[in-house]
Structure formats: C-alpha cells, structure tokens
C-alpha cells in the first residue's frame, strides 16, 4: 500500500513536470512581452507549438545518421528523469535516492553530450559552431555548478536533494554567506545552461552569436518537438532545484496527507511563477554579451562557488 502511494506520487511528479514545463516557458515569454509593451502570445502557446511540431513531417538531412534520429529521445528522457528526481512539491520521492545532486548535474551533462553530437552529425558549419560553443560553456559551467553543489552539500551534510531540502527548512540553517554565494553561482550557471540572456538568446535564429539554436538548426517536426520539450524541462528543473534548495518552504514531507501535498503543489506553482517573473525581468533588463565574454561570466560564477566552498572548508559558521 505504501509502495503504491509512493509509486503514485513519483508518477504524479513525472506527469506534473511534463505538464508544467511548457507553461513555465510560456509565462516567461508572456511576461517578457508585457515588459516590452507587447501583447505577446498566450501563455499556452508552447503547448500549441509542441503539438504543431508533432503533427508536422520531419525533414532529415541526407547525411544524418542514427545519432541524429535517436538523440532527441535520449535528450528528452535524460532531462525528464533529472526533472522527475528533483523535489518539486514534496521531498522523499520514491526514487529520489537513486540520484543525488551530482548525478542530476551529470545527467544533464549526458543530455548535452548527445545534443552536441547531434549538432555535428549533419556536417554543417552551424551545427559545429553551436556544439563547440555549448561544450565551451559547459566546460566553465560544470565546475562552477559543482562548487555550488559542494557548498550546499557541505552545509546540509548531504548531496541528496531531499535531505538538503529537509535540512534547509529546519532552524539549523540560518542565514549563511556561503549559501548566498552558492545561490549567486547557481543562478549564473542556470542562466548559462538554459541558454538565456545574457549568455545566449533563446529567441534568435539566424545570428552568428547563437549557441543552442545553432545546434538544433537541422531539427524539425517531432524531433524538434522533443528537443524543445527537453529545454522547457531543463528550465523547470533548474527553477525547482533552486527553489528546493534555497526556498524549500511548503514542500510536503514524506508520508504527508493528500491535502498537504495539494498545498505543496500550490506553493510550487507560486514559486515557479515567481521564478518566471524574475527571469523575465532580468532578461529584459540585460543585453546579450559577446560569446567570448561568457567565460568571464562563468568564471565569475566559478569564483563565487569557490569562495562559498572555501568559506565552508575553512570552518567557522559561514
């Protein structure tokens, strides 16, 4: 009986992230449009886009191999699993112990690996440029991410997201300099990883500065739908991860009743809305930077993460 409820919650979370991911992107786009005094498309537009793409015929380049055709599903699956293992509305999900924070980061790394390969598969300059830059960004983002994870894990004494979230709700945390630094680092990494302004522009198409869009330029139809969906999921994942670690309020505990879980879902929706508004505000207020400023940007994130970790390693109550 316990097992069934647990399994149901896990399944519910998998469906929840799937259902909410396009909405989050839709809200971000909508808020951005309103901020620039445009009316903007409906917040449900990403769903329509996905359905439209699914119905369309896929055009595959002559030279594309099986990697090109299977990568979208792998990328989608890896991102989905990572998102499903991140606490959203409750902690202690059935399978959450099978992957800690480091594994979740690495899972996204696997997804990126295949995306970069897919970018190089057709053998055009655009795909290559995207893959090359994506891997460069990853090379700087991953150490920064890991150091932020170290900081969080050291404060909470665990790398399991559930345990971290549980610890963060307790009184033992207080306000900590190191956590503030880790939060900054994590946000910067999240911006880079999700191809947002100022690192990359999610709305651009034919520009030499683009990264993510260049990699997926050859994709169309259902394959593109999978990749788009994966990137929606990734944004949601980062929002829930940062929410679970730095704003863990309202997370239902393991074994809580249905009403408590429903409340958790409501709070989670609120958090996502907040994240969407903040992201849109930030993106509207900033300009995209040159691609060779990105290492500086992520280098700063790396330094912040390192500083945070250093404070903790040095001991004392930071």
């Amino acid at each position: 009986m316990v097992l069934t409820t647990q399994l149901m919650f896990q399944a519910f979370q998998m469906l929840l992230v799937l259902a909410l991911a396009p909405l989050l992107t839709g809200v971000v786009r909508k808020v951005k449009a309103r901020l620039t005094r445009r009316r903007g498309a409906s917040i449900f537009q990403p769903y329509r886009d996905l359905f439209r793409l699914m119905r369309k015929e896929a055009v595959i380049a002559d030279n594309a191999s099986w990697i090109f055709r299977s990568a979208p599903y792998l990328i989608f699956a890896a991102t989905w699993v990572a998102a499903a293992l991140t606490p959203t509305f409750r902690t202690g999900l059935m399978f959450s112990w099978s992957a800690d924070l480091i594994v979740i980061v690495a899972l996204l790394g696997s997804a990126r690996f295949f995306l970069a390969l897919a970018g190089m598969d057709v053998g055009t300059a655009f795909g290559g440029i995207g893959s090359s830059r994506e891997m460069m960004i990853a090379a700087f983002a991953e150490p920064a991410m890991l150091l932020a994870v170290f900081t969080v894990a050291l404060v909470a004494g665990s790398t399991e997201l559930s345990s971290i979230a549980a610890f963060m709700t307790s009184d033992a945390v207080g306000l900590r300099v190191s956590l503030a630094l880790a939060l900054f680092a994590l946000i910067m990494v999240a911006i880079a990883e999700n191809a947002r302004i100022p690192v990359d522009n999610p709305a651009t198409h034919l520009e030499l500065t683009m990264v993510h869009e260049a990699m997926v330029l050859e994709y169309s139809g259902r394959h593109l739908a999978m990749i788009e969906f994966a990137s929606f999921l990734k944004l949601l994942l980062y929002a829930s991860m940062i929410g679970a670690v730095f704003a863990p309020w309202g997370l239902a505990e393991d074994g809580a009743g249905v009403a408590r879980n429903a409340l958790g879902v409501m709070v989670y929706l609120g958090k996502l809305l907040g994240a969407a508004i903040l992201l849109a505000l930030f993106e509207t207020a900033t300009a995209k930077m040159r691609v060779f400023r990105v290492p500086d940007f992520l280098g700063a994130a790396l330094m912040l993460g390192f500083l945070g970790a250093l404070l903790l390693f040095a001991g004392g109550r930071f």
Partner: protein, 221 residues
C-alpha cells in the same frame, strides 16, 4: 543575548561586501564600476547600521549615514559627472584579463582567511570571520587599484579599500566616532585632491591613463 539570526545577518552583509568587491573586479566599464561602487557603499551602510542596531551603539548610525550620504550618493554622482566631463565613459579597461584578476582575488580572499584564522586563533570566531572579510575587502580594493589603468577607477578602488577599513572598525566594537568622522573626511579630502589632480593630468596628457605619466618620469631618459 544576541540571537543567531542577528549575527547571521551581520555576517551576510559583511560577506555581501566581499561579493560586491568581486563584482567590481568583474566590471570593465567605468559607469558599471561606479554603480558597483555605489552598491558597495550601500551594503557597507546597511552593514554598519545593522552593527549599530545589534550593538546598541548610536554613534555607528552616524557612520552609516555618512557612508550612505557621501559614498553611496555624493561621490558616485560627482565621479559620474567627472567621467562625463573627462569624456572617458566609453573607455574599456583591459589592463589584466578579468579571469586572471578574479583568480588573483580568490587567492587574496584565501590568504586573508588563512591569515586571520592563524593570527587571531583565540579571538571570538565571529569577530575573526568579520576581520577576515574586512581584510579581503581591503585587499580586493588594492587589487582594483593595481589592475586598472584609469585614474578614475583607481579612485574607486581606493574608496572601496577604505570601506573595508570601516567594516573592520565597526566590527571591532570600540572605534570612537571622532576617528571615523575624521577618516571619512580625510577620504573626502583625498577624493577632492585626486579629482583636481585628474583634471590636471588630462589637461597635460589628453588622457587619464596613468601609464601616460610614466613617460615623464625623471629616471627615464
């Protein structure tokens, strides 16, 4: 007596000052640097005011007010005007790459922690950590001065250095108000002197790049 939360906030503000120092290192445009400096002063004012609140020391409020008024408002505005009048607001400074500067800054923070933890091992841990933060801010201010070519940003570096000193003083619970006010005014005087000096440099050399001064040193014939 003092709750952990109060101390945590004091800590967070001190750490915030280090963070803003880092952000100053990262900027490569003068206006952005000035904004960061204003933020630096703002965080300092908040930090001092918080210390005043938890220590119950009224005179620290005056220090906070001075920081807020002069450093967060008057000096940035004045510098802003100065930059516009000098016509250097489009200058990009690339004395040393941002990456290397950040790494050096990191090393300085590590150094100040190692130092403070070893030297003051008997002191109260919180004071110790505050001192480590202040020393980091001072060193980072020096780093800003060393790595920038432009005289304006050297002023900014100097001011942020001084902010670090103020932070150390307020954390140490016992610096008289007179000293602080005199420090604040001496900084102001220094600012005015340097400002006047800047215009003189510009008149002579058509640039505020301090590298231009080197050519007029007596020892280089």
């Amino acid at each position: 007596m003092q709750s952990t939360l109060a101390l945590d906030i004091a800590h967070l503000l001190a750490g915030g000052l280090v963070l803003v120092s880092f952000m100053m290192l990262y900027q490569d445009r003068l206006f952005a640097l000035l904004n960061m400096f204003a933020l630096h002063a703002l965080v300092l004012a908040a930090s001092v005011a918080w210390q005043a609140y938890i220590q119950g020391a009224e005179h620290l409020y005056v220090t906070a007010a001075i920081a807020l008024l002069f450093k967060a408002i008057i000096i940035p505005v004045a510098l802003h005007r100065m930059i516009v009048r000098l016509g250097v607001h489009r200058d990009i400074e690339t004395a040393i790459g941002v990456g290397q500067t950040m790494v050096a800054g990191m090393g300085l923070v590590a150094l100040s922690m190692a130092l403070m933890f070893n030297v003051t091992s008997e002191a109260d841990p919180l004071v110790r950590e505050d001192l480590a933060f202040s020393l980091s801010v001072v060193l980072l201010g020096l780093l800003v001065m060393v790595t920038r070519r432009n005289a304006v940003s050297q002023i900014v570096g100097f001011m942020s250095l001084e902010n670090g000193l103020v932070l150390a003083a307020t954390g140490a619970k016992g610096m008289p108000l007179v000293v602080e006010i005199s420090v604040a005014f001496s900084v102001l005087v220094a600012f005015i002197v340097i400002g006047a000096f800047l215009f003189r440099i510009r008149e002579r050399f058509d640039s505020v790049d301090v590298g231009a001064l080197d050519e007029f040193r007596g020892d280089r014939r």
